[in-house]
Subunit: 289 residues, 2 copies
Amino acid sequence: MVHAPAEGFRAARETNYQDTCYIALIDISHRPGFHDRSLAGSGGWRAFLENTPLVRKLGAFVALSGAELSALETLHKRRRTFVAGRDLFHQGQSEQAAFILASGWASSYKILQDGQRQIVDFQIPGDFLGLRSVLLHVSDHSVEAITDIEVTEILATDLLETFERTPRLATAILWAASRDEAMVVEHLVNIGRRNAAERTANFLLELGSRLALVGIGSRAGFACPLTQNHLADALGLSAVHVNRVLRKLRDKGMVTFRDGFVAFDAYERLADYAEFDPSYLDQAGPLLR
Amino acid sequence: MVHAPAEGFRAARETNYQDTCYIALIDISHRPGFHDRSLAGSGGWRAFLENTPLVRKLGAFVALSGAELSALETLHKRRRTFVAGRDLFHQGQSEQAAFILASGWASSYKILQDGQRQIVDFQIPGDFLGLRSVLLHVSDHSVEAITDIEVTEILATDLLETFERTPRLATAILWAASRDEAMVVEHLVNIGRRNAAERTANFLLELGSRLALVGIGSRAGFACPLTQNHLADALGLSAVHVNRVLRKLRDKGMVTFRDGFVAFDAYERLADYAEFDPSYLDQAGPLLR
DNA sequence: CGCCTAGTTGAGGTAAGTCAATTCACGTGG
DNA sequence: CCACGTGAATTGACTTACCTCAACTAGGCG
């Protein structure tokens, strides 16, 4: 049985794992009026922002005041879309802006001289793209749109100004960056010390947890636009081996990665097998009041 | 030929790779009077701080004003020392302080349930220890002193307060954190997509570059307190295989890892072999004036 | 003196890679 | 409407990079 992921990914709309971000992602290519629709009306932009995944995320660490919210608002310069497969920026590029992912999936990766690719992380709605690149002044990685995506652009100068004027926001963003780093660290441990099956299982579980936090996934599974090639490049494996590992996990009745959908057939057993511990993703409540 | 690393590491004092941090590291265990000696006199503490590796590092990104320097000064709560092998804090621990490494080497690592260890990064003088843990409120990793070390403690509350009062300092620290993350990312790529020999070579080169930035290393090599076990846990390899790889690299006349010293026998050839690109460690000048 | 740790080397096993062929779904152009 | 090319997934056969187990040496230290 062979299926193109796009079909199944689209089919996810029929399931109960859909959400607004998701639907937006699928619709934008067909409906250019999307912007007007969602941002129409008085204060639409502001109201929209307050429900943005980023605001939700930062709000988990710092209780944001009205002033801080509006500072966050002015950061969003313009809305842009990229089609699937398109690079937002490249490693080595300098002076580029950062982005906040509003809908769709992206990946940050590095290409080696021999053409091999290592995917460092996948980004989902609410995540930063290229924040590190702005601070380091030159990008150490590339970012590609995996699906069609919507982003809001953030200019480097605006970002640095905001830090000076709204220090609590700077702290919140530092916190978000730390959380991203924690994920990269976990990824590193995963690749360095786990075998292919545990590694794959662990990775899918982490992805599931992150998606659940944004409301696009659950313990049952999640819609997933990744190909086995993406997985291979993320996990430091060959695509052929990823295929075999996925089959093994499926045969064991733990996860099914198929048709653009990841189903956790036996969540507890899988989490146990993969030694998965999602604690570092948790955040009880605002640390800064 | 077999040698304990400690002997050779000490022997490095005789070479031209010594520096103040280094000598401090070796001396502190024998001379309790070290503190008084180095900080004695009028304004000793302040003068000392301005030449601290951390100040040098942050100064490379943000031109620090007098007020910012003194804010940085008040951050340093108390000076502490840890003997080699001692853990500063553990994964899962909450509410602990952060540290700035003044002398010696440390490693941050994670332990898996089956006892395997993955070293995420080594820290050298000027590096933060546990910055991420403070922001995430609970530590996702452990930190161990590899040699006897000196650190200054930073209380979480002080750090967050400083961010609010001195936003440029917050930006500088965010930058430093980004740089750390870039190193972790490079490490991830290294483990994910390079074979054992390239990986080892690349890693030693990166370590050399970082040490050179702090003045404790050069293109010729550097004094190195790491064991082959440390290397194995950092590179995601077995200690036995690391040994064989090191032998191969030595036989090829590229690097010699021996007696607590790493010698780049043919720097250019090694860098070429390992596809080493140190550009992400560079920082032309202050980005914020 | 004897234990411990670090390093070294050999023999043999295995997880993961490479190469290659096949199937399927999809898009495109004639 | 069908031929064709393409990209994703699948599977088998074979190779290899790295691991495990094990034995041994040397030095440090109580």
